[in-house]
């Protein structure tokens, strides 16, 4: 919840924005980063669902995948579902979290710049 809106802080909002203490989010900066966030999340999401649904697809149609032993009793299918899939999840979650953190930083810088420009304009 916003501590104060721009209106409450006595500033005439030129566009929708939210202020918390010294920090401001504008709809333009949030929208810009949202688009990048959406691209990031949906790209990772597409990879996740493609891999996750490829496993049952291969289980249905690719005999070498589900029936041919490759290490002791392990088939590629069993090895992937019981071990490798988790490594895939860990790598995806870790890299996604790091990239999402970077995006947050980008939003922060963008918002600070917009706030500074707004203050500069008022002083002038």
């Amino acid at each position: 919840m916003a501590d104060t809106t721009a209106r409450a802080a006595g500033k005439a909002p030129t566009a929708a924005h939210v202020r918390h203490g010294e920090h401001v989010d504008t709809i333009e900066s949030v929208d810009a980063v949202f688009r990048e966030q959406r691209k990031l999340s949906f790209t990772y999401g597409a990879i996740f669902f493609a891999v996750t649904l490829a496993i049952p697809a291969a289980s249905v149609w690719w005999e070498d995948w589900y029936a041919k032993p490759i290490w002791g009793g392990f088939t590629a299918n069993y090895l992937f579902v019981s071990l490798i899939y988790y490594v895939f999840l860990w790598v995806m979650a870790w890299t996604y979290s790091k990239q999402a953190d970077k995006l947050d930083e980008k939003l922060a810088h963008m918002a600070e710049e917009i706030a500074a420009q707004s203050q500069g304009g008022e002083e002038a």
């Binding site: 809106t5 918390h20 939003l107």
Partner: protein
Amino acid sequence: MNTLAIVLVIALILFTIALSIFSRRFTRTTADFYLAGRKVGSFSNASAISGDYLSAASFLGVAGAVYASGLDGVWYAAGFAGGFMVVVLFIASALRRFGEYTVADFAYGRFGSDRIRLVTVLAVLLTSLFYMAPQMFGAGTTWQVLVGKGIFGMEPYTSGVVVIAAIMAFYVGVGGMKGTTLNQIFQFWWLWFAMFLVVAFAFGNGFSYPKALADASKEPIVDTKALTVAELTTPNPATGKTPLEAAKTVMTPEEYAKVEEFVAAKSEGKIPVALPAKNKLHELRAMLFREPGHRYNKFDQFSMVLALVLGTAGLPHILNRYYTNPSGSAARRSTFWVLVFIGTFYIMAPIAGLAGLGFIKEHLANGGTIAAANVHGHLVKPDQVMPTLGNLLGGQALLGVVSAGAFAAMFSTIGGLLIASASAVGHDVYEKYINPNASETKRVLVGRVAVLLFAGLALLIGLAIPKFGLDQAYPALIAMMVTWAFSVGASAFVPMLLTGIWWKGTTERGATAGIFVGLGSSILFIFLNILQTLGKIPKEGVVGFLGSLTFPVLFTFPLSLLTIIVVSKLDGQLPKNVDEIWMRIHGTAHERHERDLGLDKVGGLLGTKSH
């Protein structure tokens, strides 16, 4: 009597109660009671989420499913873990940034109507009750195996349900979210350690993963069932063969002679038999342990995976946990650690199932005996593989650790569900509509009364399950019921959350209609499936097809999503302050402000003691 094992379980229960009483001194406000003061760090929160998530279905059910079905059982583990990717990618940080108490708060804040808040409350309560049912059933059946006797004149199953409901009502009501969080952290690590010990003992006794898998796949999988004389002699309409004839193709002459004798004497009760398993996916192939097809046909291979990965993001007790993070970034980090914690657990659970298959068979072949019912070297109830293997590899001490782990799994999940249900009634209804001016003390009191009410409801559900014959109708009831809860959550909440977070054009009418359609259709399909399994409705026609959908989410999730999109497009009435809402979900000014003030720091979980 498993004295040492029972002592360990009692010690766990006493510790749990002591932890709740201890944390009571630190629960003063509703934020403390429902959210543990929003100061739970990533590691602690990840442990608590993992404890919340890993229920009896994960601890007993996954190993049991692998023991019985091989690769199709392993999918339960992978699907349960994979669900958290949907949470981290699409929901975790946005939900936390929105900064409320519950999922219903999110719906209200995002769409701005009392109607959607109340519809969401209804969906939270129904999903929680669906998830509560397998936990209570697990409580009753674990008591049957471990204690084997009733108390105060009750049956063993009833005793288990009553005792667990009473303990849960006490410790959640007293400790609130802080007590529950502390307990869940402890309970998660206990059950992780229990699983680790079982697997370590297996490797210590010569278990080799690739070799055991090869050995298990030398012969086709065998199904085990306990059947009456009537069931044994009734021909299967599809094959024309009776189960008695089918059993002859699998069982040894000595084993089969006992079954024949049982039938000839027209004995009462049931006798365990081994039956050949059919490959439902590749019908011409033998059903080997390492291959898919024991549980799922082509359609279910996909729908089961989707039900599990989408369902996690629709469990209210898991979503509520994301509000306890100090920031959106911390919410993502928590989810990563959850994936590490539960991932390692789910890697071990199938190993335990496979190890159980080899060790129990070898033990019985060498003339050994076990307490659990068995036939042809296999357990009749696969869900008993964990305690049986524990007893076999580490005696009563390991059996005790495993049994305490099973109770820990149930406690931690029921605790989360009770908090989610109590917050839906206490916070979303009482504080908002009945008495908005209530004092903090009164609000916390209402939360505690709500916990008692839901523990009572859980008790009734637990007692009702055997009365309706569900335990006889479904061979792996715990896993089945958990999947139902996943289906309801995935259909009711996930489309609303995804569109609410990622599509600005979602309207209140669209979201409300989507929740209704998802909730109603998933519950309808589940009840049709139950009625069909109980033989109350036919297997033919449209109703027959709908009733045959084991995992309705493949239909109900897209149906709900489509409803939201179509109704929102037709409606077009966006909230007036949609830009402000959007900035609240995706902006970070609030977090940066909190960082300036040092409010983003993780506090001690216990915070300040009340005086």
